[in-house]
């Protein structure tokens, strides 16, 4: 009776919770000021920590003198790199960070020393008394410099010089694809980096108790990975470390790495025997970063006259900043998902990640995919213009079929992109408003434009970050004899509603109210491991694990009640806090009585559920990035206004359709779609992490005042459509929504700018200056375009060659000898 997927069974039974707009289980606490974020935690005798950070972008540390700081009254401890010598990092292949730099700093903001003192003022004063002697080194500030300049190396590992990683994969023979094409087009794009800007600054509190166990409360999206990193760096048994992720005041990927400040407060708590808190300043949050990689892209695509793709060669160049972070995964992600929207029969991907002396880049909402998606969708738009095809219809005509495997071995399940395109085309009145590439017979006045783009995103990664055969998500359920239900899971609520998803699913299966369920999450002592809130994995993976745990508990209740009622187990149903005979619904017991019957019969009632994604058909090196149990799809049309005198772009309205599979809670899905549109809007119009390359690689504006993000005055109207095409791998058919709907927004706006004023802005963000420059070029009779023209010359390794599934490939790379023979 254990049933992992609810969708096919009980299809006749009406759903009482799933699909209904319940409020979130933690929403009221957030609206009355009761929710305890990390910085709201205050413990007796708690010390305050401040971290001294490098003011140089690249330098050797010659000496650190902490004498004056230690002598300041109220200072309890000062630590430096030699106190925490063990390196760590989120990926096993990039263990390149130290909690405090030991011999070298690699960007402005790199941590050098830390203080614990009685209050923040004393800690701050002590921090300023630490004397560091540096020997400056030449800096690497751009991708181009990193490719050209091998010495000095920022790190002593990586593929070469200052190149962290080079990837080269070829699925089928792309040259053969180009030879079959009617048109071959090449474009170069640049997507500037930007940051998460969560409203809550990172904060952490550590408490070391007299039994030598340490507890860390932290605003982290990944308590399990923090737990592992702490065990490694602190040299403590993992069983003596407890990590509790506090509710995150926004994450967006920015709280997914184990961070130096988390390690530092643990060490300071161990040294002082007192609780220690650190809360980063907003400036420090900009240096933590791990945000969107700047990506330079070159795309070459061959198409038939009807727009069918015959082959694609995609190159990406990522500016990784000073550390590895998730960067190797990010690099693969810039090449992974091009194949899951439109059919790409042959595909070649080359990706390079550079080290530069800037804050490290990592995962931000859409992790590594918004940049190539922007490039691809603008590139497709340009192809449609050359072929004189409607860009919406052309996309619609060449979609990947559901239940197929792509050239790069991604297995597609449900695929609702066609329905998404239909909705936004109809809703936006596309056919009566798009220019049809005819500038002389426009349907909208000059300056008004409309653009379309599509996208897809994973619902969790097929593989965990560190290799293992264990589930990616675990859920434990405890039923007590008073009728209480407690669901425990390592997942972390970062505002997306993951705590609520657990309650809704358990309540649905046990026939109770979601607000009857006690949810305990993100506590490594109490909850089974869930890998964390990233990769849009939580609803699908914890949802399936919760279904399994709840089904197992339900089975125990059903057996006990069936015995009591003397009816077959098939006749027992659970609804409205009762367990009853479906044929005589008045014959039954309350839910609490059912638990008593079950506990009397079986002993204490506790069940577990877990989830492991299906195995990917890809077996080649690098096939770990891209596979997912399911893919969500989105299509968007943006309607904009461009002022040709100022270059200012105003996005007036976005129509967006998202293939959610099945909404566990439509109201929360709507919120994720709207929030994604908002964040995409910020990326395309204004947000950028920029540095003064010639002035010491200093961040131009590490503050909320100067780093512009959309306010209510810039946010556009959003018309949302939810497409429900249940995916067999999703809980109740559900797919992700937290990240995917961001992806079509930047290219839809870029395409609309072209429709409005006839210039291509091939660089994100589209600022007024860039629009004006392109317009002036056009006025002078030159190409009306702003963007990069070339990519660096790179000595690429021979690609791994993999036959595509349609060529009879088995997902393994072909031996090199065969390729060269």
């Amino acid at each position: 009776m254990s049933r992992n997927r609810r969708e096919e069974n009980d299809s006749a039974a009406p759903l009482n919770v799933i699909g209904k707009p319940f409020r979130k289980v933690d929403a009221r606490a957030k609206c009355v000021g009761q929710t305890k974020f990390a910085d709201d935690i205050v413990l007796p005798r708690m010390l305050s920590c401040k971290i001294l950070r490098s003011h140089l972008p690249h330098a050797l540390i010659k000496n650190i003198d902490t004498t004056k700081a230690l002598a300041l009254p109220g200072v309890l401890a000062v630590i430096t790199g030699k106190d925490l010598p063990i390196p760590y990092g989120i990926l096993p292949v990039s263990q390149d960070e130290h909690a405090l730099c030991i011999d070298k700093v690699r960007f402005i903001g790199d941590p050098v020393a830390a203080v614990a003192a009685v209050d923040e003022d004393v800690a701050f004063d002590a921090m300023n008394l630490i004397e560091v002697e540096y020997e400056p080194l030449p800096t690497i500030s751009t991708i181009e410099e990193a490719v050209l300049i091998d010495e000095p190396r920022i790190h002593d590992y990586g593929d070469s010089g200052n190149v962290h990683k080079k990837v080269s994969l070829e699925f089928g023979d792309v040259e053969e694809g180009f030879s079959e094409a009617d048109l071959i087009r090449e474009d170069v794009f640049f997507y500037e980096g930007n940051t998460h800007l969560p409203m809550e600054q990172h904060s952490a509190v550590a408490h070391f108790d007299s039994d030598e166990k340490i507890t860390l409360w932290s605003s982290t999206q990944t308590p399990h990975y923090v737990h592992r990193a702490l065990a490694k760096v602190l040299g403590l048994a993992a069983s003596h470390i407890r990590v509790i992720a506090t509710p995150n005041g926004g994450g967006f990927g920015g709280k997914s790495d184990p961070f130096n400040h988390e390690v530092i407060v643990c060490k300071l708590a161990m040294l002082t025997g007192r609780p220690v808190k650190v809360t980063l300043t907003r400036e420090e949050v900009f240096y933590c970063h791990r945000g969107r990689h700047p990506v330079l892209m070159k795309i070459k695509t061959g198409v038939k006259n009807d727009g069918a793709i015959t082959g694609m060669h995609f190159q990406t160049y990522l500016d990784g900043g000073a550390y590895g972070s998730y960067g190797v995964a990010s690099t693969f992600y810039t090449g992974a998902l091009q194949t899951v929207t439109y059919d790409v029969p042959r595909y070649k991907f080359q990706g390079l990640r550079a080290f530069t002396n800037k804050p490290p880049c990592g995962p931000k909402r859409g992790h590594g995919t918004p940049q190539p998606r922007y490039g691809l969708e603008v590139h497709i738009d340009k192809i449609a213009e050359q072929l004189k095809l409607d860009p919406a219809a052309m996309r619609r005509q060449h979609l990947v079929a559901p239940n197929t495997t792509t050239a790069n071995y991604l297995r597609i399940g449900s695929m609702g992109l066609g329905a998404c395109i239909d909705k936004v085309v109809e809703g936006s009145d596309w056919k009566n408003r798009f220019s049809d590439w005819d500038r002389d017979n426009r349907k909208l006045p000059f300056g008004k434009g409309i653009g379309i783009a599509c996208s897809s995103y994973i619902c969790g990664a097929g593989l965990p970050i560190y290799w293992n055969n264990m589930p990616q998500s675990g859920v434990q359920l405890r039923l007590d004899r008073q009728g209480g239900v407690c669901v425990m899971c390592g997942s972390t609520d970062i505002g997306q509603g993951s705590d609520s998803i657990l309650a809704y699913i358990v309540a649905e299966i046990l026939g109770i109210d979601p607000f009857d369920v006690r949810v305990v999450t993100a506590d490594t002592d109490l909850t089974p491991v869930d890998l964390g809130s990233y990769s849009s994995r939580v609803t699908l993976m914890t949802g399936n694990a919760a279904i399994q745990a709840a089904e197992r508990a339900r089975e125990l209740l059903v057996i006990a009640v069936a015995e009591k009622l003397e009816v077959p187990v098939e006749n027992v149903s659970l609804a409205e806090r009762r367990v009853f005979d479906v044929e005589n619904p008045e014959r039954g017991v309350s839910f609490a009585e059912a638990v008593v019957l079950a506990e009397s019969k079986f002993g204490t009632i506790g069940t577990v559920g877990s989830y492991s994604p299906p195995r990917s058909p890809g077996k080649f090196k690098g096939s770990g990035v891209g596979p997912s149990p399911a893919y969500s799809y989105s299509a968007a049309v943006a309607e904009i206004d461009v002022d040709p005198d100022t270059g200012i772009v105003v996005v007036e309205r976005v129509w967006i359709a998202h293939d959610i599979g099945k909404s566990i809670n439509p109201m929360l899905v709507m919120g994720q779609v709207e929030g994604s549109v908002y964040m995409g809007l910020g990326e395309i119009l204004m947000e950028e992490m920029v540095y003064r390359s010639n002035r010491n690689v200093v961040h131009k504006f590490p503050s909320m005042l100067e780093y512009k993000s959309p306010t209510t005055m810039e946010m556009c109207d959003v018309k949302t459509y939810l497409i429900e095409d249940p995916d067999p791998n999703g809980p109740f058919g559900a797919k992700e929504v937290g990240q995917g709907p961001l992806l079509p927004i930047p290219p839809a706006v870029a395409n609309a700018v072209y429709d409005a004023v006839g210039v291509r802005i091939d660089e994100v963000p589209i600022t007024p200056e860039k629009v004006l420059k392109a317009l002036r070029e056009k006025e002078k009779g030159r190409v009306g375009r702003y963007g990069p023209d070339s990519v660096p010359t790179v000595d690429w390794p021979d690609p791994l060659r993999i036959l595509t599934p349609s060529e009879g490939g088995d997902g393994r790379e072909m031996p090199h000898v065969a390729v060269h023979s």
Binding site: K30, C31, Q34, F37, V42, M667, K719, Y721
Partner: protein
């Protein structure tokens, strides 16, 4: 030792006295000396609106006001918005309609919205946008916040109102 200042003011309709270092902002006094951590901090320079509280009924940024300046004033924080156990209509609609995602900016938005509705019981959408333009939210795209304000305003006017169907389920 530092010289602490000692002031008296009305906080959430109760008289309080508190001693603190005189350079502290009202935000710090509320969070650190009065343990009211419902008021949040986001930017440290008066840009994000997260620390908004009501002083004599007007929204101010508590990160830009010295605690000393609260002497004799009436301050309302998120902890004082409900009436006993009864949530303010805005708190109910923010919670019930998904206007609070991570919830970190919610206290600031709620108090600014309360000030708006006290002055203008039937604000238009542009008036709501204008009133909330000093508050940043990174989660919602603001739309669920507008809808929550509109719904609460309607209910406070005595109307029986619910969210439009398309706000909950999307367009047909």
């Amino acid at each position: 030792m530092k010289q602490k200042s000692h002031i008296t003011f009305m906080l959430n309709a109760e008289q309080v006295e508190v001693a603190f270092a005189p350079h502290k902002t009202l935000l710090e006094v509320l969070r650190e000396d009065l343990n009211l951590t419902g008021t949040k901090h986001g930017c440290e320079l008066g840009e994000c609106g997260t620390c908004a509280v009501l002083v004599d009924g007007r929204s101010i940024l508590s990160c830009l006001m010295l605690g000393l300046d609260a002497e004799g004033r009436s301050v309302k924080t998120i902890e004082g918005m409900a009436t006993g156990a009864e949530l303010h209509p805005l708190q109910q609609t923010f919670a019930d309609t998904g206007a609070a995602q991570c919830g970190y900016c919610s206290p600031g938005f709620l108090l600014v919205a309360e000030e708006l509705l006290a002055k203008n019981p039937k604000p238009s959408r542009p008036e709501i946008q204008e009133a909330l333009s000093g508050n940043l939210c990174r989660c919602t795209g603001y739309i669920k916040i507008y809808e929550a304000v509109e719904l609460a305003a309607a209910r406070m006017r005595g109307e029986e109102a619910e969210l439009p169907r398309e706000s909950v389920y999307g367009l047909e």
